[in-house]
C-alpha cells in the first residue's frame, strides 16, 4: 500500500536541517503500523510526506501503486481527498460547522450532492454512536466525541489509508483507550492505518512499530497487541 524508497528531506532555513536521511519503508494492505520516535526524530515530517501535505527532496513514494512525486496542488488535493483519511491530535474540526457538516465536508469537495452527503455522514456518525450529536457544534462535544467525529470524517470517503497524528495526544487515558479501540476496529475492517505517536502504550496496540531516530529508521519490530494488557501500558 505504501512504499518509501530512500526518502530525503531537508528544511532550508538559516541553517539547513536534514530531517529525513534516506527512509525505506513498506506498509502492506490492511496493516496497522505505528511510527515512534523522540521529538525531532522526523516522525511528523514523515507523516506529512505520507499525507502528501509536504514534498520531499529525494527518493520515491508510492501510494496505492501510484508514484507521489512533484504533484500539482490540484492533484495533491485529489489524492488526499480520495486516498487518505486524516486524524489529528487537536481534531481540527471546523468550529462553525456541526458534527454532521464536518463529517460531510470531504464529500463536498468530491462533489457529492447534499442529500447523499448528509446520509453518508449520518451513517458514519451512527457507527460511532454520535447520531444524537449530529447537530452539535464541536465546542459542545467532549474530547472523545470530537475525536470520534474526526475519525468519522476521515472514513467517510472510504480512503485507502488512515494517517493518525498523535490521535490520543489530547485525550485522557480512558478516552484514549476507547479511541484506540475504534481505530483498531477500523483497521480490522481492512483499512491500512499509520499512527504517529511518542507513547509506548499506543504503539504497543499496533502490529508493527517503526522506531525513528535522527531521521533514519532505527528498527522495525513486529508486535501482537492482543497479548498486551493495554489498560496498564497505556499509562
Amino acid at each position: 500500500m505504501i512504499k518509501l524508497e530512500n526518502i530525503n528531506k531537508t528544511y532550508f532555513g538559516a541553517q539547513p536541517l536534514h530531517v529525513l536521511k534516506g527512509i525505506n519503508l513498506e506498509v502492506g494492505d490492511g496493516e496497522l503500523v505505528s511510527i515512534m520516535g523522540a521529538s525531532g526524530s522526523g516522525k511528523s515530517t514523515l507523516l506529512n510526506i505520507l499525507g502528501i501535505l509536504d514534498n520531499y527532496d529525494e527518493g520515491d513514494y508510492y501510494l496505492a501503486g501510484k508514484l507521489v512525486k512533484n504533484l500539482s496542488e490540484n492533484q495533491a488535493a485529489e489524492f488526499r481527498n480520495k486516498l487518505i483519511g486524516f486524524i489529528f491530535q487537536s481534531f481540527n474540526l471546523i468550529p462553525f460547522k456541526t458534527a454532521l457538516e464536518n463529517v460531510a465536508l470531504p464529500l463536498f469537495y468530491q462533489g457529492v450532492n447534499r442529500k447523499k452527503r448528509n446520509t453518508m455522514a449520518m451513517e458514519y456518525l451512527e457507527r460511532f454512536g454520535l447520531k444524537d450529536w449530529a447537530d452539535h457544534y464541536p465546542n459542545e462535544l467532549s474530547g472523545g466525541q470530537k475525536q470520534r467525529v474526526s475519525i468519522a470524517r476521515a472514513l467517510v470517503t472510504s480512503p485507502k489509508i488512515i494517517l493518525a497524528d498523535e490521535p490520543t495526544g489530547a485525550l485522557d487515558s480512558k478516552t484514549s483507550a476507547e479511541v484506540m479501540q475504534i481505530l483498531r476496529d477500523v483497521n480490522a475492517s481492512g483499512i491500512t492505518m499509520v499512527i504517529v505517536t511518542h507513547e509506548r502504550g499506543i504503539a504497543n496496540l499496533t502490529k508493527k512499530i517503526v522506531y525513528l531516530k535522527d531521521g533514519v529508521i532505527e528498527s522495525i519490530s513486529e508486535n501482537d497487541p492482543d497479548k498486551m494488557d493495554f489498560t496498564k501500558e497505556i499509562k
Binding site: N48, G51, L53, R80, F88, N92, P106, T157
Partner: protein, 421 residues
C-alpha cells in the same frame, strides 16, 4: 458557483463575525450611497439649468447690423446699414447650411411709460415683429389660440400674440382673450393667441411673457420701415458646422451691403451654440468630478473590505489548512474567498444604492419635479443607466476586494493546519 452549498459556506463565514462584517460592508455601502447622492444632485442641477434654456434652439445664431469699422468702396467707416427682406431670400438661396432663418424687429420700452392697453388697464411692454417660424427657434407654449401664420404676414393683418404676463396683467388670467382688441403704441390689434415661454432666461429682445408679438410685415407697415428689420436669427442644418455657416452668411451680407470683406465689426454675431456648448462642458466637468469623488469614496470602502478580509484569512489559516488537507482544491478556496468578498460587497452596495435612490426620491418629491421660474435644482434622481453602471461597479469592486485575500488564502498549505503552535 452559487449553488445552495456554496452560499451556505459563504454565509456561515460572514455570519460568524457579524459586527466585523457589518462594519466592513459599511465602507462599501457608504461609497455607493455617496456616489448615488452625488450623481442625483448633479442630475438635479443639470436638469435645473437645462430647464432654464428649454425651448431655445441650441444651434441658433443671432446677427445684428452695427456700424462699419472700415472704409470701403468710397464709403467712410462708421456707416449705419440695415437688413432687408431680400437679404433673407439671398441667404436662404445661397447658403446651404442654413436651416431656418427668421427676421425680427423689436420695439423696446425702457422708459416705463404705459404703452399697451386693454380698455383702461395698461402696462409697459416690449413689442416684437416676427415671422411664423420664430416660434420654432425660440419656442413657447401656445396657451390660447395660435401663433402668427403666413396669412397674417401676407396680409399684414393687425393681429397680435400676447406674452402670458401681458395677458394676465391686462385681460386677466380667467378670461378668454381671443378676439379682444388691445392698443399698443396707439394702434389696435386683435388678440389671436397667448404664448407662454418655456423659459424666460434665454431670449431675444425681452422676455417672451412680457412681449406683444406682431406679424413682422404689420410692424413694418405700422412703423414705416419698408422691408427693413432689426436683426435675424438662423439655425444650422444638421451636418453643417455653425462657424462655417456664420462666415458664409457674413461674407454674403458684406457683399450685398458694400462692407469691407475684412470688416468684423459691421455685423454683430452671437453664437448660442457656443454658449450652450460651454454649458455642456460645465455639466460634463461636474459629472466627471462626481464620478471621481464617488469612485474614490467607493475605492476606500473596497480597500477596507480587502484589508479586513486579509486579517480574516490570517485568522482562518488553520481552517483553510484543514480544508486543504481534506481535499479542497486551490481554485475552490479562491472561489470561496472571492464569493465572500462579492457577497459582502454586493449586499452592502445594493443596500447603499436602494437607500440612496429612496432618499433622493424623497428629496425630489420635496423640491418638486415640475419646472417653474428660477429653478436651479430639478428632479434630482439617477437614471436607469447610471444605476446599472453603479451595480456593475459594485460587482467589479467586490471582485477587486477579493483578489488580495484570495491570493493570500491559496498560499496557505494544508501543512499549516497540522503544525501545532
Amino acid at each position: 458557483m452559487f449553488d445552495i452549498d456554496s452560499i451556505t459556506e459563504i454565509w456561515q463565514t460572514i455570519a460568524r463575525n457579524k459586527t466585523r462584517s457589518i462594519l466592513t460592508a459599511f465602507g462599501v455601502f457608504w461609497g455607493i450611497f455617496i456616489l448615488v447622492i452625488l450623481l442625483a444632485c448633479g442630475n438635479g442641477f443639470d436638469n435645473g439649468l437645462r430647464s432654464n434654456i428649454e425651448g431655445f434652439s441650441t444651434n441658433s445664431t443671432f446677427m445684428i447690423p452695427s456700424f462699419t469699422t472700415e472704409p470701403y468702396k468710397g464709403y467712410q467707416k462708421g456707416r449705419d446699414w440695415s437688413l432687408n427682406m431680400s437679404d433673407m431670400e439671398a441667404i436662404k438661396r445661397k447658403v446651404k447650411g442654413v436651416d431656418m432663418i427668421s427676421p425680427i424687429s423689436s420695439i423696446y420700452s425702457y422708459n416705463g411709460e404705459k404703452n399697451v392697453f386693454y380698455g383702461t388697464k395698461g402696462g409697459n411692454f416690449s413689442m416684437k415683429g416676427v415671422m411664423p417660424n420664430y416660434n420654432e427657434i425660440d419656442r413657447g407654449k401656445i396657451v390660447y389660440g395660435r401663433f402668427i401664420n403666413e396669412t397674417d404676414i401676407a396680409e399684414s393683418r393687425k393681429v397680435c400674440v400676447l406674452g402670458k404676463k401681458v395677458y394676465e396683467d391686462l385681460i386677466g388670467a380667467d378670461k378668454n382673450p381671443l378676439g379682444m382688441m388691445i392698443k399698443a403704441n396707439g394702434i389696435y390689434y386683435q388678440v389671436i393667441g397667448v404664448i407662454q415661454a418655456y423659459n424666460d432666461h434665454v431670449n431675444i429682445s425681452g422676455a417672451t411673457s412680457e412681449t406683444v408679438i406682431l406679424p413682422l410685415t404689420t410692424m413694418q407697415l405700422a412703423y414705416h420701415t419698408g422691408d427693413k428689420f432689426d436683426f435675424f436669427m438662423f439655425t444650422t442644418a444638421r451636418g453643417h458646422n455653425t462657424k462655417d455657416i456664420q462666415d458664409e452668411v457674413k461674407a454674403l451680407l458684406r457683399e450685398r451691403h458694400d462692407i469691407a470683406p475684412t470688416d468684423e465689426g459691421a455685423i454683430w454675431c452671437f453664437d448660442f451654440e457656443e454658449m450652450f456648448n460651454m454649458f455642456e462642458y460645465l455639466f460634463l466637468g461636474i459629472k466627471i468630478l462626481i464620478w471621481i469623488v464617488g469612485i474614490g469614496t467607493l475605492l476606500s470602502g473596497v480597500v477596507g473590505v480587502s484589508n479586513i478580509m486579509l486579517v480574516t484569512i490570517k485568522e482562518r489559516t488553520r481552517e483553510i489548512g484543514v480544508r486543504r488537507a481534506l481535499g479542497a482544491k486551490p481554485s475552490l478556496i479562491i472561489r470561496q474567498v472571492m464569493a465572500e468578498s462579492l457577497l459582502l460587497t454586493v449586499l452592502a452596495g445594493i443596500v447603499g444604492l436602494v437607500i440612496g435612490v429612496a432618499i433622493m426620491a424623497v428629496v425630489a418629491g420635496v423640491v418638486g419635479n415640475t419646472p417653474s421660474e428660477d429653478v436651479m435644482f430639478l428632479n434630482p434622481q439617477i437614471g436607469f443607466g447610471a444605476a446599472i453602471v453603479a451595480t456593475v461597479i459594485i460587482v467589479l469592486s467586490g471582485l477587486l476586494a477579493g483578489v488580495l485575500p484570495a491570493m493570500r488564502a491559496i498560499q496557505i498549505k494544508a501543512i499549516d493546519a497540522i503544525r501545532e503552535e
